[in-house]
Symmetry: C2
Subunit: 416 residues, 2 copies
């Protein structure tokens, strides 16, 4: 069972908006055994939309479009889909009712004709009711193939996919089970890892696919398979994981959560052990905290954090000693460790992680070379820190520092 | 001049990785007058790569591939490109030298044959030297068309695009000038905005395209044009902007920075006026701080922030009164305002913004309904707050709260 995703909107082609919709839809489709063959991003242009629909129909069973359903004149997806199906637009009374109800609840201004016209859908389509916005989703069938058109606003699209598209697809198709398991590996390059596990990789059964995903000091190793016998697939993949972990040796850092990543593994362990965390950030500027707080349940283990971006705030808020700063500079092991210890005390947590460094592009309050970062961990038993240099690209330095801070924290938590 | 981008990697099709490379490349191409016609994401599969290359060649002048250049067995882009060009791989001595030099500087383990083999490139290609990693970029010409293959690791790809691809493309092609200007509008829906500016929109000259970009309480209105007379295009677009601003009325919040967004506008104004900012976050968990600190120059105006995620930390760290919390709950105007005032004092800043709310999915330390958020602004003259309900999807609540906090801050700064 193959799907293709067509994301429509000029903003994608000029780089103004990153297409996050496709990844979300792909993940949901994968869970019900539908593989995505291709993702195509195209402009709000009739000829181009028609061409993309035609190509996708030849390759895939399920074609999902997002975007171009707004009330304004630049949005032409609906008209174009009607043309593709030799169809006309008719007013759907249930959609109109939904629009009127949303308007009543959330909007103070008058309901305009352009909004009412969002109730126009191709006569051959069934509406997918959008309770979060005025643009309805649409479901069209052509023989065994299904065409789905969804609004481009992420949270509206996400609700429609989870509540309507996925259940309907499961009903219509007999889908295989798709299984991905991802191992996290720290401190080992792609080729060094490949050398360690070469004999295992060569002996992998054909139905299990392997992928290496390197990113800023962290490697992910993904095993993927699909079929109709879920229990057997689980056994097969688990068997391979059990074989490969001893080969990776101590650089193996755990299994990635199905929908998540290393911060979710940390969150689970802290919650299970009833332990708490505080974060003190300088160069990472709130990014470490954000990685935890974007997931639900963070309040169970995350006590709080400080972003001490200025030297003065390190002294005033985190009580780092002025003498330490004067003799070692703000970018130093001493300051990182003091930030960790003092934030742990301030928030009364079991663990604290602290970052201080120079992300560039220019040197800040310290003489430290651009890219230099100290990361410290404080526990109930000890405090320690490590020095890194993450190069001279600002975002790369920040992201590598965040990944490294999470890695150090994960290793610390797994110690016990 | 048209380009197509082909991003290669199974991780994109299963939703494990969001494709941010395409947006980056598109933005850079746009700046030199190259429009991206289509972005296609495909699997690490020979037949699929060959097919995508063939289709892209028919439509575009410049074809840029990213991904699939690693040393491991799942990476087949290079072999497949050689096949597409009826070419063979040869060892490039300059690339091998670069690999050996990177290895010496950054890697402790032995240089393996698979790494040396990264110096194999199609004989018809010119290498694009990758100083940040071992996979070289490749440049191939076929008549007037150019094929470029780049590694998928974002920072390696970004450096190659900026330092090599863009200068070489400017040399090879006579490109038009592309101009985008984006207006930020707050507190007005898509259709209400369209109604206000309808007569202006209808009278827009054909060479200026208009797009509406709604996102979580914020609207962006983009004008785009291209041509060879840069000065004239600037005049044309500025003329239209001058006409439309009075029509949008007070909901107009400023022009978006060319490469950025509202936080960059705020950063510029604070820096220009020599004013500073502190941030106190509860439900937004570090995301407001992260929006500022991911841009360079943040240390000029951003003093620091606190993420007081637990009630106790609001009392201990931000000195919010226990009595206020007891009588009004942690999600209240009183607590938001106290957080703003006290963080402003703690970090000795001119402005402070504070958020407290319940992002869900379950109720936390407060009885407040899921989605309720209070945002407060403190200045040298006053403090005030507003109450919002941002619905019941966690990430939507967080992102809407971040956008709204930035909006309130922007309006406050523009007051004077």
């Amino acid at each position: 069972m193959l799907a293709e995703i067509i994301t429509i909107g000029d903003e994608l082609l000029i780089g103004q908006v990153v297409d996050t919709n496709s990844a979300f839809i792909s993940k949901q489709l994968n869970k019900i055994g539908v593989s995505v063959y291709q993702i195509t991003s195209i402009q709000d242009d009739k000829v181009h939309i028609l061409q993309a629909l035609g190509e996708a129909e030849q390759r895939a069973d399920i074609i999902i479009c997002t975007g171009g359903l707004g009330p304004t004149k630049d949005d032409i997806t609906k008209k174009t889909i009607a043309e593709y199906f030799n169809d006309t637009l008719i007013r759907d009374s249930s959609v109109l009712k939904n629009i009127e109800s949303i308007w009543k609840q959330h909007v103070r201004t008058e309901l305009l004709q352009v909004n009412k016209d969002q109730a126009l859908i191709p006569s051959k389509s069934k509406p997918l009711m959008n309770t979060l916005g005025t643009a309805p989703g649409m479901w069209l069938e052509k023989g065994e193939k299904t065409f789905i058109s969804l609004p481009g606003v992420p949270y509206e699209m996400e609700a429609l996919v989870c509540k309507q598209v996925i259940p309907k697809l499961k009903e219509r198709y007999n889908c295989p089970y798709i299984l991905h398991k991802t191992l996290i590996v720290y401190g080992l390059g792609e080729s060094a890892l490949a050398a360690r596990i070469e004999s295992w990789e060569d002996a992998l059964p054909k139905h299990i696919k392997l992928a290496y995903l390197p990113n800023l000091g962290k490697m992910r190793l993904r095993l993927s398979t699909k079929g109709f016998d879920e229990a057997q697939l689980q056994l097969d993949v688990q068997g391979q994981i059990d074989k490969v972990i001893p080969l990776i040796k101590e650089e193996y850092a755990g299994l990635e959560d199905e929908d998540g990543s290393v911060e979710i593994v940390i969150a689970k362990h802290l919650t299970k052990r009833n332990r708490t965390l505080a974060i003190a950030e300088s160069c990472t500027g709130g990014s470490v905290a954000e990685r935890f707080t974007s997931n639900s349940g963070a309040s169970t283990f995350f006590k709080g954090g400080v972003v001490t971006y200025s030297t003065q705030s390190k002294i005033n808020v985190l009580k780092v000693s002025e003498a330490d700063i004067a003799s070692h500079s703000v970018v130093s092991a001493q300051v990182a460790e003091a930030m960790a210890i003092n934030s742990k005390a301030l928030f009364q947590s079991d663990y604290a992680v602290a970052t201080t460094g120079n992300a560039g592009p220019t040197k800040g309050d310290s003489d430290a070379e651009v890219g230099t970062v100290y990361i410290a961990i404080a526990t109930n038993a000890e405090v320690y820190s490590k020095e890194f240099n993450f190069g001279n690209s600002r975002l790369k330095v920040i992201n590598k520092a965040v990944n490294k801070a999470l890695e150090m924290l994960l290793k610390e938590i797994f110690k016990n």
